[in-house]
């Protein structure tokens, strides 16, 4: 099968690649670009562990074909820390104990980032609703919700960082 040429930005860097026409974005990120922060926990769109942000929208990269995101701007967990400083969500996830095995963590943080980017001060209910797109098997979600709310309160820092 003929390779497809794609150009996009990943974590603010331009990338030009030739990929298989049926290659998923998750595979491209993990296998070609060594961005292994996104995980394949189901490959079916049911868990959110593979979530990345594409043009501001959290997408399940296991359900996206790489040629579809030609021209897009993509953020992965590896692109969150800036100039050696963690993103407020990363800090809050650490400080609030929202991480156990960590397999869901990058998907959770990116899902939460997309929420805070569109609504910097969400109510608890809205955080619960938003992260209900992602499965975490370890934490019972309470500390994840706490962490997202905590990050939203670091609002100033959050905006500077963005």
């Amino acid at each position: 099968m003929k390779a497809v040429k794609v150009n996009f930005r990943i974590n603010d860097e331009p990338v030009a690649l030739e990929v298989k026409p049926y290659e998923t974005l998750l595979e491209t990120l993990r296998e070609r670009l060594d961005l292994i922060g996104g995980k394949e926990a189901c490959g079916l769109g049911s868990c959110g562990a593979c979530t990345v942000i594409v043009d501001g929208i959290p997408l399940r990269s296991c359900l996206v074909l790489t040629p579809e995101v030609d021209g897009a701007s993509i953020t992965t967990i590896e692109g969150l820390a800036r100039n050696g400083r963690l993103h407020p969500l990363q800090e809050s996830f650490m400080e609030k104990g929202a991480v156990q095995c960590g397999f869901c963590t990058s998907g959770m943080i990116l899902t939460a980032k997309a929420l805070l980017d569109r609504n910097p001060r969400p109510a608890r209910k809205e955080v619960v609703k938003t992260i209900s797109s992602n499965i975490c098997r370890c934490t019972g979600y309470k500390k994840i919700v706490d962490a997202v709310l905590d990050a939203s309160l670091k609002n100033k820092a959050y905006h500077i960082n963005n």
């Binding site: 926990a41 967990i77 156990q100 960590g102 609703k129 209900s132 500390k143």
Partner: protein, 759 residues
């Protein structure tokens, strides 16, 4: 050492989280090595069939295929944890015994090539009659799954204490009920994966595991390789919950392929394969008969429990026993008989689960509530009356050394106003309580103990070397906290080498709540030994007695004259000058009865200590749909001293999700040996929106043996959260369930039946 602790007991940021929030933590599937091959496994399409032949020749001819194997390439060894359970070849050559069983495998340069080759492997099968129901499997004439186990009875655990029949006859109230529960999926987020790399006669392995040493031992047997040539390496693990405790067929597959190809091989299972072909949880049928005196004292218990063991033994004797033990370690049973049968069926391989024994525990607790009600008693009082306390012996002769059970019951019931709410339950609204005890470190032969090395580095930092493994619970952070406390240097000064069988000494692994109680205890002892060497030199240098010295903030100082002090770093360097660097070992072996055996000698000290816990669930039932919601869940856990309270809460909260909410939604569905819900679309796990408002209460009972008084971090809730939900439903419906989980259809049946009785 002064009593006020600096690091232990504090809500510290876990040491492993930075790597996890930045996406840098490497899990098995993330590993890449030069020349690495991709492996794929051909699986049995039959629940039971004789293997007549396996032909790999066409697969081997596909360009890019570097190895293909079946059980005929293995060494004819069968694995079993016990001498009497060695029945699992991992790659069968005689017959397949479940759908999804590993039959053959290939390693190729890429996935497409591997899949193409897989389709060219020819296996000749002769299908055999199969059996899927454990009660049917026990009947005469049922298909025989293994020669060795008559009537497919794999394990029979028989315990008989006191005179059950007489006590039952004399009891004021006797009640017998039978409950069934579906097995569950561990559904850890990381699907199973193995990387095997064979070179120069050594096999290196990475896989999510709950005990690297136990895993290496199993593989050295299966591969007939000396133990030191099998090196299980450290790797992050995406959840275990009991499901990564035992050797997995994929381990043997990847190892054989790597040995054949002479190249590293990576095998990553799909979500569906993770469900069908790694371990699952036992389904069970439990009959519980209880005799009570008029005042609510339990006078006798009589049990018959049948566990659906799937196709192989696994940790059979342990799995058959644990539900009973965690219960008898919680309540006083003067007369008790337990008959536990683990029966083989043509279904996937089974293992222990964090909340193993759900139907058994939930059934016992719900039955107790109905009996209390009949006697006009309150469930809280009945639990307090029958609950064990420190200094008591369990029915099978384990001494309880520290016990916060009564406090967990009191605190959980006070904070929920249980006593007021319980009698006022009405249709559609209920409250329930579950209690349990958990053993910390049980007999595993010489592997019951752990050993640790520590060395002080020339900049005053320390390196600790321990077999303790972390599956996400935070065990690494716990041992770092303990070392940091003893050595008086911050957590970031501790370097950890762990869960690597080449570098570390024996450790039981994350089984039986041993990581903190046993593993961290060994770390404590090693660090105390190093600390003594530090204070000896410091005493000489500062001219004060060693007993007067304490370590804090990288300094050693006199407690009586605090300005007499020097950096730990200086002492470390002085020790190098003296040709006697500061290094120490330490070990801890729990005080258990090592003669205790699960089947042949089921008595004696089971564990170094026991943790205790109480869960209280409040439920609402929609009488039209049968749907249960859980608005509030309260959990109180006696963990000894919490090393990191935030991590303990996290374990408790996760337990409420995985064991509590699971009671209303999780269960495997089968159709003749085919698992109908192997993925996360059909098998629903609780999401954030399914979670109740959670209240966690930590009770610190200060265990005399545990490191800084610690026991374990939350497993009691994992065991009793299920009971709490079941009891709350019993309270709301005033009737006993017969099948778990409590899905809407089953709840409606209970409500219908109840209506019928009333009329």
């Amino acid at each position: 050492m002064s009593d006020d602790l600096n690091i232990v007991g504090k809500r510290v940021v876990r040491s492993d989280t930075l790597a996890k929030v930045t996406g840098q933590a490497r899990y098995t599937a993330d590993l890449k090595f030069p020349n690495m091959l991709t492996a794929k496994v051909l699986r049995s399409p039959f629940p039971h069939a004789r293997i007549l032949g396996i032909d790999l020749s066409r697969a081997l001819k596909v360009p890019g295929v570097k190895a293909a194997i079946s059980g005929f390439d293995a060494y004819g060894v069968k694995w079993g944890v016990f001498r009497y359970t060695q029945d699992h070849a991992m790659l069968p050559t005689d017959k397949v015994r479940y759908v999804g069983e590993d039959v053959a495998a290939v390693a190729a340069v890429d996935e497409e090539t591997a899949l193409e080759a897989l389709s060219l492997i020819k296996v000749d099968y002769e299908p055999l009659p199969a059996v899927f129901d454990p009660e049917e499997a026990m009947q005469e004439g049922a298909p025989q799954i293994h020669e060795a186990y008559q009537n497919n009875i794999n394990i029979h655990v028989h315990i008989d204490v006191g005179d059950v029949d007489r006590a039952m006859a004399e009891a004021f109230l006797v009640r017998e009920d039978t409950f069934k529960a579906a097995g569950e999926a561990y559904a850890m987020m990381e699907p199973y994966a193995v990387v095997a790399s064979y070179a120069n006669g050594f096999l290196e392995l990475w896989m999510p595991n709950a005990g690297p040493h136990v895993r290496a031992k199993a593989l050295s047997n299966l591969l007939k390789m000396p133990l030191n040539r099998v090196r299980v390496r450290h790797i992050y693990s995406g959840g275990a919950f009991g499901g990564r405790s035992e050797v997995s067929p994929g381990d043997l597959v990847a190892s054989l392929l790597s040995i054949k190809a002479g190249r590293p091989v990576k095998l990553v299972l799909s979500r569906e394969e993770n469900a069908t072909s790694t371990r699952q949880i036992h389904d069970m049928i439990a009959t519980v008969k209880t005799g009570m005196s008029r005042d609510g004292t339990i006078v006798a218990k009589d049990y018959r429990v049948i566990y659906d063991g799937g196709a192989y033994s696994s940790t059979g004797p342990i799995a058959t026993s644990i539900p009973f033990y965690v219960y008898e370690e919680c309540y006083r049973f003067p007369n008790v008989r337990y008959n536990g049968y683990r029966v083989l069926t043509n279904k996937g391989i089974r293992g222990m689960y964090g909340c193993h024994g759900r139907a058994f525990l939930a059934g016992n607790e719900s039955q107790m509530d109905l009996m209390a009600k009949e006697l006009g008693l309150d469930p809280v009082d009945v639990r307090l009356k029958n609950g064990l306390s420190s200094g008591e012996m369990t029915a099978t002769k384990s001494l309880i050394t520290s016990c916060g059970l009564a406090q967990t019951i009191a605190r959980a019931s006070e904070s929920t106003h249980f006593k007021e709410k319980w009698p006022k339950a009405k249709r559609g609204k209920g409250i329930g309580m579950g209690c349990i005890a958990i053993m910390c470190g049980f007999p595993m032969g010489f592997r019951s103990g752990s050993a640790c090395y520590v060395k002080m580095n020339d900049d005053g930092q320390a390196t600790i070397v321990t077999g303790v493994v972390d599956n996400g619970q935070g065990n690494e952070s716990v041992v770092i906290q303990v070392a940091s406390e003893v050595l008086g240097i911050p957590m970031e000064d501790i370097n950890l080498i762990n869960a690597d069988t080449e570098a570390t000494n024996l450790d039981p692994g994350a089984y039986s709540q041993a990581a903190t109680f046993v593993g961290a205890n060994a770390v404590r002892v090693a660090c105390e030994n190093a600390r003594r060497k530090i204070t000896a030199i410091a005493a000489e240098k500062l001219g004060v007695p060693a007993e007067d010295l304490d370590l804090k903030d990288r300094m050693v100082f006199s407690m009586t004259t605090p300005d007499k002090k020097m950096p730990v770093r200086w002492i470390v360097r002085e020790a190098f000058f003296r040709g006697d660097p500061i290094a120490a070992t330490g070990s801890y072996f729990p005080k258990i009865d090592i003669e205790r055996e699960w089947v042949s000698r089921p008595w004696g000290q089971m564990a170094g200590t026991f943790s205790f816990g109480t869960s209280v669930a409040e439920v609402r039932i929609d009488s039209h749909t049968g749907r249960i919601t859980v608005p509030r869940f309260t959990a109180a856990h006696d963990c000894g001293r919490p090393i990191n309270p935030m991590a303990v809460e996290g374990q408790m909260e996760g337990s409420i999700q995985q064991a509590g909410i699971a009671a209303i939604m999780e269960g495997n569905l089968w159709d003749h040996g085919f698992l109908l819900n192997p993925d996360l679309l059909e098998y629903k796990v609780p999401l954030a929106c399914d979670m109740p408002e959670i209240d966690t209460i930590i009770i610190s009972s200060m265990d005399p043996e545990g490191p800084f008084g610690a026991k374990e971090g939350g497993l009691t809730i994992r065991m009793n959260a299920y009971s709490a939900i079941a009891c709350a439903v019993t309270n709301a419906t005033d009737a006993l369930f017969t099948e778990l989980p409590l899905t809407p259809d089953r709840v409606l049946t209970i409500l219908e039946r109840k209506k019928g009785v009333k009329k």
